[in-house]
Structures are given as C-alpha cells and as structure tokens.
C-alpha cells in the first residue's frame, strides 16, 4: 500500500445552502470509486474538517458517475450571510477534501505513478 492525497484520484466541487456545505467528490476513473467508498467516510471527513464542521455529515452515493456527495451541516460559520469567514460559502472546501490521505493498493499506485503522481512525502 502507498499513501496519496485524494487529489490524485478524484476531483471535487463544493457548494452551500444556509449553514450546510456539500462537496461532490468524483473519482477520475471508475476503478478508483471503491477507494472513495472505503476511505472517504463521514467519520474520517469529520476528523479532517476539524474546527470547521460542527454538525452531522451525511454521505450519498452516485455510482453511475462514480461520485459521492458529502453533506456537512453546521459547516459555514452559522450561515453564508452571517459568517465571518473569507470563504463564507465554503467553496474552497473542495480543495480541503482533496488533501485527505488515502491508502492505495500497489497496482493502482503504479498506475498513478505512471501518470506522474507521487505518494505523499515523495514529491520532488
């Protein structure tokens, strides 16, 4: 197993509704999707978003487009319109989720490295 940033396997977009933020996380390849399902769990996301997400995280699955939707309550400092954050909508949270470390089995790691992606700590 090798550890990569989620960024190497998936892309993401975040949006807002009130005090709730949602992040669509989409695997670049269908065979990366099971890694998302196993490792991008609500518990791990909550730990990763420490200090940001105060409420519940619900994960929905969209297998046809090999994506998950992370719905994070209490994530926007009391709501977009009252928040003191520079990013009241949490649109930059898509970049934060992509900093999650994920463990990748050797064959997929080799595939990623062929594309020039590097495991965490071995970047040039």
């Amino acid at each position: 197993m090798k550890t990569f940033y989620l960024r190497e396997l998936a892309h993401a977009r975040a949006g807002d509704k009130g005090d709730t933020n949602n992040i669509g996380v989409i695997a670049y390849e269908p065979h990366y999707y099971p890694i998302l399902l196993r490792q991008i769990t609500p518990e791990r996301v909550k730990q990763h978003f420490r200090g940001i997400v105060k409420g519940r995280i619900t994960r929905y699955e969209l297998p046809k487009v090999h994506a998950i939707n992370l719905v994070m309550e209490g994530a926007l400092g009391g709501g977009v319109t009252r928040s003191l954050s520079l990013d009241p909508h949490g649109k930059s949270y898509s970049a934060l989720v992509l900093t999650m470390p994920v463990e990748v089995q050797e064959d997929i790691a080799a595939e990623l490295m062929l594309k020039g992606r590097r495991p965490i700590g071995t970047e040039p």
Binding site: R13, G18, L62, V65, V71, R82, L84, S85
Partner: protein, 456 residues
Amino acid sequence: MSTEPRRTRTLRIGAGASYAGDRVEPATELAARGNLDYLVYETLAERTIALAQLERRKNPEAGYNELLADRFYSALPHCKKNRTRVVTNMGAANPAAAARRTAEIIRDLHLGAMKVAAVIGDDVLQYCLNNADPLKLMETGQPLSSLEGQIVSANAYLGADVIVEALRQGADIVLTGRGGDCSLFLAPMMHEFGWGEDDWDILGKGQTGADMVECGANVSGGFFADPGYKEVPELWNLGYPLLEVERDGTIVVSKLPGTGGIINRAICAEQMIYEIHDPANYITPDVVVDFTGVELEEIGPDRVRITSGCGKPRPEQLKVSVGVLEGWIGEAEIVYAGLGCLERARLAEKIVRERLKIGGVELQELRIDYIGMNALHGEASLPLKEPPYEICLRFAGRVREKRGAVKLGNEVETLVGKGPASSSIPRKHVREVLAIYSCLIPRGAIKPQIMVTEVP
C-alpha cells in the same frame, strides 16, 4: 389546455448568466450565433433579492438587476432578429419596473412590436409577518417571530407554471422575481413540448438538464481548472452553455464552437452534484428530481448527453427566503513581510485584542485569520514547511451596533505607528449583516400574477 401545435424539433436554450453581476458578452454571443429559441438569464442568489428589496425601499423604480440595460441593449437586437425569447429573473424585487425599463429599451432600439411580461406575487413579506408565530425556520425549527433582527424581505420560490402561462400569452420577454432557478429553464421546455404539470418523469428529465446549466459557465469550464489535473482551454474566452432538448427529455449540453472552456463528463458530474443534498430527492417547486440514475455520455467535442434523470411529485409547500437585518460586520487587514513577519503579526493580534477590551467593544464573534497560512481552512490546513515570507493578518467581527464594527477597523488601522514595525497600510471595511433564513408556506398563500406590456 392549449391547442397550439407542439414542437417536435430540438429546442435550444442558452444560459446567459448565473449571478447578478455575471459577464455580459458571452450571453450576447449566444444570442448572436447560438441559433437559440430561448435565452435565460439567472441572476438571483439567496441574498440578492433581499438586497434588491432594500434598494426598492429607497427608490420605487429600483430593485431590479443593475445590468439589465447592459444585457438587453446588446442582446435584444439579436433576439428579435433570431426570434429568440428571453426568460429571466432579472426582475428581482421589482419585475414591474424592470418591464417598464425593458419596454423603453425596445422602443429606444426601434425593435418593433414586442410583448414584455412581468411575473409578480413572489413577495410574501406581509403573509410572513402576519404568520410569524406558526411559520417555522427550516434551519432551527424555531418560529419566525423568534428572530432578533428586523425582517425586511420574504420571497417565495415560484415554479415554472406561471412562466409557462406568460409564454402562452405570447410574451417575448418574461421578467420574474424569486423563483426556482431551474424553473426558468424548465418553463420553455414545458411550454414548447406541452409537458404536463404532473408528468413527473419528464419534468425530472427537464429539470436535470436545467440543473446542469443554471450555474451558467460552471458546466462549460468555469470553476473547474486545476493545472496539471484538470485543464481548460482558453478559459479567458469561456463560452456559456446551451441545452439542446428533445421532446422525450433527452438533453445535450453544449457550447458555441470557437469559444473557450470545456464540457465533458467530469465537469457535468461536478455540476450535477453542486449544491444538492440527497441526490435522489432534489426538491424544486416543479418536481422532486432523482439524479441517481443519470447517465452522462460524451457524444462529441464539448457535447455531453444527459439521460435517465427522473422525477417524483412536487412538494406541497414552497420555500421562502427571509431577509433579516441582524447587525454589522467590521473587517480589516494588515500585511507584514520579511524575516519575523509571523511574530510581528502575532504581536499585532495581541495588541488589537487588548485594545478592544480597553475600548469596551463587545463583539458577538471575532475571527482572526493569518492569510497565507490558515485563513480558509483553519486548523485543518496543511502545515507550512518553512515560515512564510509575508503574512496578511485579517480581523472580522460581528456586532449589534455599527460603532463597534467601525471601532474594530480603527484599532487595526492604528497598528501603523502604534503597533509592530514594518507593515502595510491596513484596509478596513464595514457592512450591514443581511442574513437569510428559510421557511415553508402553503402554495395557496401565493397568487402569482402576470402583467403584460405590449410595445407597438
């Protein structure tokens, strides 16, 4: 039921805007060479309409989109020539005034006979004030009457049905206030193809396509580029998207040849999930959409076919956005650079905290960010490998009275000369908090009306 002959050929709907201040030129280009049947401008975020209500209070002829004239002067000549109808929520808090201004523009441009429709009735402020005890906030479950600030606006999300009626009455341009964003796109489909208001499956398909373009260029290359990972050609020349809709609900999202940007499966997937919660139950005023079965297929350069969306019966109640004046926010920033900049910024933070205490400023909340280290993601940020060369220290505080917000800015400003060495000149800013809450009201509480102006 209408007896008009129904369309069998492809319907082309362009997305000309996705927020109030959106760029004008790409929409005009769509109008000029998109061979469009409809051009839709979506310009209302949750807060935009509440801000517009405040404008209207100051001036009874204001409260509609500030770029309406810019957009219409450049696009309407093409729309008239190409027989493209326009549907837009640029009416914001004052669709009737927007229609009067639009009629002036049509006369000024000598475009000849056109019908302009204003949709009114989304303003439910009085209803909400009269029912502030029984109405509950969706965010907290507490009654509307429990809000501490001053309620200044309440606008319901109208559905596509009233826009369909305006189109049936022959409107060339439909100006609405608050409505479902997607409804602006769904209405032309319903009107042209004669889709039934309770044909949930076809409405679900239509709304899936609408959802794809209601954020405009976010599906055609905007908010997507990440060099080395997701490349977008000629992002500066971003083309805005259009829908090619078939009568059976098959939809292709595309853009004009010769424009920059990209439309592929990846960006369509991002956009489909954007700002939804349960993908099996995306609630709109017209239909509850199920995205979980949607298939996205690349059928050509910058062309993605969307199939297998479906729908369920629409909700019995309509969502209302309530605008509430809740106090003030003061913000200020100061930059330190060079060796030891972080230590000087930390000292500046300590000084401002102490001086706010000395000045007796009581903030409801104070936030301090180190821009360059942790401003967006706080303690979840990846740590820096070495000290930053420069750092921007930002203060933001929320307070009931304006003078507290002003005082915060002043205490940051006086760091120059009375704080640590070697900083930039601070910038400061004070704004009023217009918070938005949501509640649900029965459909029956709303009586939408259509006002048609005929320009001879």
